[in-house]
Amino acid sequence: MEAFTTHTGRAVPLRRSNVDTDQIIPAHWLKKVTRDGFEDGLFEAWRKDADFVLNRPERQGATVLVAGSDFGTGSSREHAVWALQNFGFKTVISSRFADIFRGNSLKNGLLTVVLEQKVVDALWELSEADPNAEITVDLHTRQVRAEGITADFELDENARWRLLNGLDDISLTLQNEADIAAYEAARPAHKPRTIDA
């Protein structure tokens, strides 16, 4: 996983709540068997509208997505995270994320930042007034900074440590091999098996 420490970039203000993963990446894109090449599928239906915020010239190259509440609801498709990253986003800010999307984002180094809606409103207003306004998301200090705005955000210490160091979860877990083997040895015999032993 790519490490996330601090990032500064311009924003895309997405004034929509309940942005579900079918909007982020429609199902027909899920037939691909790779983790890349999803950028053209990102918000595919909405991008057909020339006025959609992502299509505007002043938003090209922006890396911080500032979205309405309940971002990433719906399916567990990790492709939604890959599509945002393939397109160039480094971080997403919202007042609330769906649980599975949030888990997926943190496993890929896409930092999802939860801020109060009034701070999200302020970031929207700032970015709409000045498309060149930059937003800094600092994971060291767990703080979002922009002109006239400073807001702390929460992220549990373990997730933060893994992101800052770009650590691979599987390697970390396999360090506990003895614990896993001990648990397996003690499992009751009535537990289901998909194949005969």
Binding site: A27, T34, G74, H79, L174
Partner: protein, 475 residues
């Protein structure tokens, strides 16, 4: 202090607990399908890792599979390649697979329970958000992303922060024609699409206890639409009766040991939930969605809401956008919404009871002119059972299309899709923009409402059908 059902199952699966770290949980059952697994198998290959527990892993094909001409090569080359990738991965790593054409093939969440693999007190994961379905057995079951699929394949564990618990108590008797689907749609509208975020839901109360296993699966299936990764129901005699004798259920002494354990899986009387919601079952009615998220629903007797009536700016904005997309007008009676397509199927409502309920209404009636009705059984086993009961004939004589098993029009990854602007009444779980095909408009309904809607051509409940049946012997 007592513990909740969720806490008991969680505690029984902790491999390692350390201060300041997520718990490492053991996973009893890992279900795989073609869409969310290819990148995970690639990860294993790159790291040179095997699948740790082949005996706790099983795969099927469902999302991409066609529901017509399944004996011919799959027409869409990209879908075909994805299915072939799963077959190669399962062969290379030794995973049990039920491919298209196999008698155990079907929607992954229908296959697990019918094989008897989904059992009380187990942890079940799958790269699919509707894994919450399996919670109906008192399992802790939740959807995961592809990185976690790889993690479970490699380690049979997941590091997870312990969620909070929410009790949803439904007391009283459900009125006639009100189904588990109506109940869960009403719950989602009540608590919102984010209401369950960070929680494991436990459905309880006298109305829940009376439900069949299949109805309980419908409820738990849509926990994710309320924002919760998992929903659970305490196992009871209904659960044990469903499981006994199934292919992978325990037998003999192991059955007795299992049941003794399963009977301990109830929230203690003094257990404390982090949140509680109480629903009066007697006040419920057939329920449909009008918008583009599953929380935008209302009783069938209601009208399309006026966005201006929402105090919250974000909800108002969402309602305006939803009405625009859905082509609806505020104040329009929901019963006057005409549909082009009716879909009966999916992991929400594609089991045998769902097909029986829809067929009972269609028997002796006809699908309205101009309406296309697709009936897609959740698995090959469900299809065979339906055929043995003659349900396929009921559907085809009514003018509906009887198809092969799979996810089908629930998400339109196969050719079963809505055309732009087309409107459906669908027994599936998501009414998102474009979910059933680009520009398609979806109303989520129960199988009974789906069947009545097919007959009348507009959103309707069985009670609206008083004299549409051809007298027996005439048809």
């Amino acid at each position: 202090m007592g513990r909740t059902l969720a806490e008991k199952v969680w505690d029984d699966h902790v491999v390692r607990r350390a201060e300041g770290e997520p718990d490492l949980l053991f996973i009893d059952l890992h279900l795989l399908h073609e869409v969310t697994s290819p990148q995970a198998f690639d990860g294993l290959r790159q790291a040179g890792r095997p699948v740790r527990r082949l005996d706790l892993t099983i795969a099927t094909e469902d999302h991409n599979t066609p529901t017509l001409d399944i004996d011919k090569p799959i027409a869409d080359p990209v879908s075909r390649a994805q299915l072939e990738t799963l077959r190669k991965n399962c062969a290379d790593f030794g995973v049990r697979l039920h491919p298209l054409g196999d008698v155990e093939q079907g929607v992954v969440h229908v296959v697990g329970p019918q094989l008897g693999l989904t059992q009380p007190g187990t942890t079940v994961v799958c790269g699919d958000s509707h894994t919450s379905t399996h919670g109906a057995f008192g399992a802790l079951a939740f959807g995961i992303g592809t990185s976690q699929v790889e993690h479970v394949l490699a380690t049979q564990t997941l590091p997870l922060a312990r969620p909070k618990t929410m009790a949803i108590t439904v007391d009283g008797e459900l009125p006639e024609d009100v189904t588990a689907k109506d109940l869960i749609l009403a719950i989602i509208t009540r608590i919102g699409t984010g209401g369950g975020q960070g929680y494991i839901l436990e459905y309880r109360g006298s109305a829940i206890e009376k439900l069949s296993m299949e109805a309980r699966m419908t409820i738990c299936n849509m926990s994710i639409e309320a924002g919760a990764r998992a929903g659970m129901i305490a196992p009871d005699e209904t659960t044990f009766a469903y499981l006994e004798g199934r292919d992978r259920a325990p037998r003999g002494e192991e059955w007795d040991a299992a049941v003794a354990y399963w009977k301990t899986l109830r929230s203690d009387d003094d257990a404390v939930f982090d949140a509680e919601v109480v629903i009066d079952a007697t006040e419920l009615a057939p329920f449909v969605t009008w918008g583009t998220n599953p929380g935008q629903g209302a009783p069938l007797s209601a009208h399309v809401p006026d966005p201006a009536s929402y105090e919250d700016a974000s909800e108002r904005n969402a309602a305006e956008k939803a009405l625009e997309y859905m082509g609806l007008t505020a104040g329009q009676p929901l019963r006057e919404i005409n549909v082009d397509t009716v879909f009966v199927g999916s992991c929400t409502n594609g089991r045998i009871e769902d097909l029986r309920n829809a067929a009972a209404i269609l028997d002796g009636r006809k699908v309205a002119n101009g309406v296309r009705m697709l009936v897609v059984p959740g698995s090959v086993r469900v299809a065979l059972q339906a055929v043995s009961e003659g349900l396929d004939k009921v559907f085809t004589e009514a003018g509906a299309e009887w198809r092969h098993a799979g996810c089908s029009m629930c998400l339109g990854m196969n050719p079963d899709q809505l055309a732009p602007g087309e409107r459906s009444a669908s027994t599936s779980n998501r009414n998102f923009e474009g979910r059933q095909g680009k520009g398609g408009r979806t109303h989520l309904v129960s199988p009974q409402v789906a069947a009545a809607t097919a007959v009348l051509g507009h959103l309707a409940s069985p009670a609206d059908l008083s004299d549409t049946r051809t007298p027996a012997g005439v048809r």
